[in-house]
Amino acid sequence: MFWSDKIEQEVHGVVFNIEKYHVHDGEGIRTNVFLKGCNLWCPWCCNPESQAFEPQIAVHENICTRCGLCVGYCPQGAISQQEDGRVVTDKKKCTLCGVCEERCLQSARELYGEEMSVAEVIAKVEQDSAYYKNSGGGLTISGGEPCMQVKFASELAQAARRRYIHVAMETAGAVPWEDMWEVAQYVDDILFDMKFSDDEGFAKVSNLPLEMVKENMKKLVENGKHVIMRCPIIPGYNYTPEHFDNIAKWAGELGIKDIDLLAFHQLGKYKYDSLEMGYGLTEQKDIKKEDLEPYKEMLIAKGFNAGIGG
């Protein structure tokens, strides 16, 4: 019916979650579309299912009753039960067909990641249009790193624009400028992660130069994009006075007005277990929001719109 239908149906991406009534980040009532796959490996990541590019099967141990039915359900014979009752999945045999997820009586098995077309995703996003209109909200493309699925993210942003839906994107920015701009040119607000202000720190989560990140941020501002600097504050990584000074310095240099400080929390811990992924920050205590107040005040005193989120 529309000239854009064909491309919206043809372009696919891997999505691991579409969350409606997302109200914690960005303006108004938003729908967050989480794209799977990231090129960083931040040990504090609260969405570990976002990191791998391929779909993954997870088992929620707290829900699983160890009934063992899934062993029989699996067409590939990839699931087996150990002596203690624990169910394990042989990742080599598993074809991610989803039968075990569909049939588990407890909904203890969850397949993270589904290949979806832009058309399928935008149809879900559009369902809440009336809410966006009344609240000033819209679509947030999140990840993973959305710019790693550059074609899909770009087409999704364009599809939203064609429907007069406001678009925001969350990015860590460690991608070539061409990829960044391919998506960002269709995005209204960019929630840009600033994880480290020193090369040494950044090397712990990436093998790309930090300069690339800073340069992308700079170019976005130069190109007239509204950039919100988002700073996860992680003990043992960047919870230092110098880092807060650098945040202010960067933002000042780049002409960024809005800064969100995100306090470290342990809410993503259970997901590491369900994905059989190692988690290195088990012992780390949460940062209380109050602890960040002085830094927020410092930023406000310097003229920034600073807030505490996360």
Partner: protein
């Protein structure tokens, strides 16, 4: 004079419009006194009514009822509590539940005999009774046994009524043992003109009557009864004036001044036009109180309180007679008077109306007939009073519309944050067109207010009970449709079907089988309720309340005989979401995906999804049915079926006439409503497993809300689904419960987003009503474990709030279960 004293204020910890809410020492003391008071059954009214009936055996029903009412008001025990500024209660006990023997006493005696429980041993809504009261009640029983409203109803009921009740598919029993209520009378006229004006109108009509004309002759008893009843109310007020003067003799100086003021007020109103805000507030309270004494109906409401009283308020403020705080103190006094009111109903019915609730509303906000926002100072004051008193009654109702004051809307959320779902919110954008659609002219439709849970009524012009008739259990109707019309539990077949789940060839055949059962049982429910209404007209008549509703005096007849200008009645639908969810699940799993056959599903349902010997097993089939599309997720697959089936049900109800049709009022028709009160729990207990994956005995979906636990896509999807229902047809009121985490209500940008969700639901999706529960499941569990620490913890049940701890455990569990799915 000064009513509000600042010293020794108590901080409530609640915030309203950026200020901490305090209670005066007076209000706090009274509130504590009442919260700690034990609900008591009282025999005073019952004995006085019995005396009057015995004395006036031969009088026409209107006069007999009027004389009984007069006898009660002139002789009932009265008291004034220390500190009260607004006076008048149902008896001398702190929280006092009178007995209405003229309706039915069988259940009272049975319960006193311990069947099923003594009043003090009930699982919820307990009452105590003194030896003396019990003795009095047992003594009068012989006069009423077989000589009451219930017996007169039973005498005319078809045999099907009892069968349907046994199956719990329709149930109108509560109408046979209870009165009508469910209305707002012309309170504005009482305040502005006084009851003497009504007496004069009746006298003028009596003078004109030509008794040789049979049509006029029959009007005389009612018109006489107007004089008797209104006169009796004035006399009661004067008794309070005398008592206040008496108490003043021994009071300290401050209290003495207050009591003399009370005496002055009660001497003057409600007989005469109120001269001050205090007098208007007291006059309205006397009317509400005495309406409670005439019959044992509930949901007798205050209407658009902010509109009715604003002129009195502004006059006193301008003259410097009172301050905002003084007016607030008076309204808070009324709120506590309302909390004091109690009516005891049978345990069986209490399960469907749990929580010591009389469903009395104060409506605020809305618009005038030119579409202008009606918000005024009293709109805020009423909300403020609720923030200060914060109990489960009265019910506060906010009328939302597209041009509502943002300040009033956000002030409402300050009250929502306190808990208990107050105020509930109702949208003019649907209510007004829904009423116009039933034939009410725009000018009156715009002036609607809320009574009971969600019923809209035109104040002083409409017969009571615009909904609130018999219950219709759609969970059971689905079950019957799937079983060829036969009830698996009782073996009863009332309307034989055309097949069962194992024989239906396609969706359409199943859908038609469902419709056939609906047609049969809605017709039966209307039949039952019309028969009851006819018996109410003949044996109860309600002359006093009729006197205060137009055009009863002009027409010389009570409401039940067609005296009111507008007239509608509505049943209470239970388990609406279970219809669409069940039909959609069978359509998807059996007819489209063909994962199992209808016979397999039937067996799984018959065995409550527990048979492990089949392949797939019972639990596996239950999982398939649960995974089918569910209403509340903005999924058109199931929502289309919901909307279509719901529209069918609504139109089926609206086909029928009330007993007043063609006898004077505009309307005279039945209308739908989705107010299920708390009956989704007992009615679910009577239902076997359903094809939506629900197991036998579990609660049905409440009201028009999604089935709890099945709306998994968040609040925006949930409200969008509900907004698809054709609410403009539901002129009896549509009800929606939502649960949010307390954090969502904290002031700030998050709250604005929640408000925007509600705004979208009302303005864009034409949602009709919403009530927001914000208490966390953890809090509820703690309250269940240590009730004494949570005596004033409020929750929203269905269209009304209740204190949580006195509820029956099954209902508590249902509320916790629903709360756990908060966003």
């Amino acid at each position: 004079m000064k009513y509000y004293l600042e010293q020794d204020n108590i901080k409530t910890g609640n915030t309203f419009m950026d200020r901490e809410v305090v209670r005066s020492k007076r209000m706090d003391t009274l509130r504590n006194l009442l919260i700690d008071a034990t609900p008591m059954i009282d025999s005073d009214r019952a004995c006085l009514v019995t005396e009057a009936y015995k004395k006036n055996l031969s009088e026409p029903i209107e006069v007999k009822r009027a004389l009984a009412f007069e006898h009660v008001l002139k002789n009932m025990k009265i008291n004034i509590l220390d500190g009260e500024l607004i006076v008048g209660s149902l008896g001398s006990k702190l929280r006092c539940a009178p007995i209405f023997p003229e309706f039915n006493m069988d259940w009272v005696i049975e319960e006193l005999d311990g069947k099923p429980f003594r009043p003090e041993d009930r699982p919820g809504d307990r009452y105590e009774i003194t030896e003396e009261d019990e003795k009095n009640i047992r003594e009068i029983y012989s006069f009423w046994k077989g000589n009451d409203h219930y017996s007169r109803c039973q005498a005319v009921m078809p045999k099907e009524t009892e069968l349907a009740k046994q199956m719990a598919v329709t149930d109108s029993e509560w109408l046979m043992i209870g009165g009508d209520g469910h209305l707002t009378v012309d309170l504005k006229m009482v305040a502005e003109k006084g009851l003497n004006h009504f007496i004069e109108k009746a006298e003028a009509r009596l003078k004109e009557l030509d008794l040789s004309d049979p049509d006029q002759m029959v009007q005389r008893p009612f018109l006489e009864s107007v004089k008797i009843t209104c006169g009796a109310v004035i006399a009661l007020a004067k008794r309070y004036a005398d008592l206040a003067r008496e108490q003043a003799k021994t009071a300290d100086a401050v209290r003495k001044e207050e009591l003399l003021k009370v005496a002055e007020v009660c001497e003057y109103v409600p007989g005469n036009p109120a001269r001050s805000f205090h007098e208007a507030v007291q006059a309205l309270w006397f009317i509400n109180l005495t309406l409670q004494i005439e019959n044992n109906g509930h949901s007798i409401s205050f209407g658009r309180y902010d509109q009715t009283l604003i002129d009195f308020y502004r006059k006193d403020i301008d003259a410097g007679v009172i301050t905002y705080e003084d007016a607030l103190e008076l309204v808070e006094c009324v709120f506590l008077k309302m909390y004091q009111l109690l009516k005891v109903i049978s345990w069986d019915n209490t399960k469907a109306f749990a929580g010591y609730q009389l469903f009395q509303n104060f409506t605020v906000g809305g618009q005038d007939k030119n579409g202008k926002d009606s918000t005024n100072e009293l709109s805020f004051l009423v909300l403020h009073a609720q923030a200060a008193i914060a109990l489960n009654t009265p019910s506060i109702s906010l009328r939302y519309h597209n041009r509502i004051s943002e300040r009033l809307l956000f002030a409402s959320f300050d009250v929502v944050r306190i808990g208990g779902g107050q105020p509930a919110m109702y949208s003019d954008e649907v209510y007004i067109p829904a009423l116009v659609n039933r034939g009410i002219p725009w000018e009156d439709a715009v002036n609607y207010s809320i009574v009971g849970c969600v019923e809209a009524i035109v104040e002083g012009k409409q017969t009571g009970r615009p909904n609130g008739a018999g219950f219709v259990n759609f969970g059971k109707i689905v079950e019957l449709a799937m079983n060829n019309g036969s009830d698996p539990k009782t073996g009863i077949t009332m309307k034989k079907g055309t097949g069962d789940l194992s024989t239906f060839k396609d969706f359409d055949e199943m859908y038609e089988a469902f419709k056939e059962q609906v047609r049969y049982f809605l017709k039966l429910q209307v039949t039952n309720d019309n028969l009851i209404d006819r018996q109410t007209e003949l044996g109860i008549a309600d002359p006093y309340v009729s006197a205060l509703v137009h055009d009863c005096i002009a027409r010389g007849k009570v409401m039940k005989a067609g005296g009111a200008i507008y007239d509608y009645a509505g049943p209470l639908y239970v388990g609406v979401a279970n219809i669409g969810n069940s039909l959609a699940a069978v359509k998807k799993v059996v007819f489209e995906d063909k994962k199992i056959t209808g016979a397999q599903l039937k067996h799984a349902i018959d065995t409550n999804y527990e048979d492990m010997t089949t392949s797939p097993t019972g639990p596996e089939i239950q999982k398939m049915m649960l995974d089918a599309p569910k209403y509340g997720n903005d999924d058109d697959y199931v929502d289309d079926i919901m909307v279509d089936s719901f529209r069918f049900v609504c139109e089926e109800t609206a086909k029928y006439h009330t007993t007043r049709h063609g006898r004077g009022p505009i309307g005279g028709t039945w209308q739908p409503s989705t107010s299920s009160v708390s009956s989704n729990v007992p009615m679910g207990q009577a239902c076997g497993a359903t094809p939506d994956g629900r197991k036998a005995g579990e609660p049905l979906a409440d009201t028009s809300s999604p089935m709890h636990g099945t709306d998994t896509h968040g609040i925006t999807s949930s409200l969008k689904s509900v907004g698809k229902l054709p609410t403009v047809l539901v002129s009896g009121g549509q009800l929606l419960n939502i649960k949010v985490m307390p954090a969502s209500l904290e002031p700030g940008p998050g709250l604005k987003k929640l408000v925007d969700v509600i705004r979208t639901y009302f303005s864009d999706f034409k949602g009709m009503h919403v009530q927001i529960n914000s208490v966390s499941a953890e809090t509820l569990k703690s309250a269940q474990a240590s009730p004494s620490e949570y005596k004033d913890l409020m929750v929203r049940v269905a269209g009304y709030s209740a204190l949580f701890t006195p509820l029956d455990k099954a209902l508590q569990d249902d509320i916790i279960e629903r709360t756990e799915h908060a966003v």
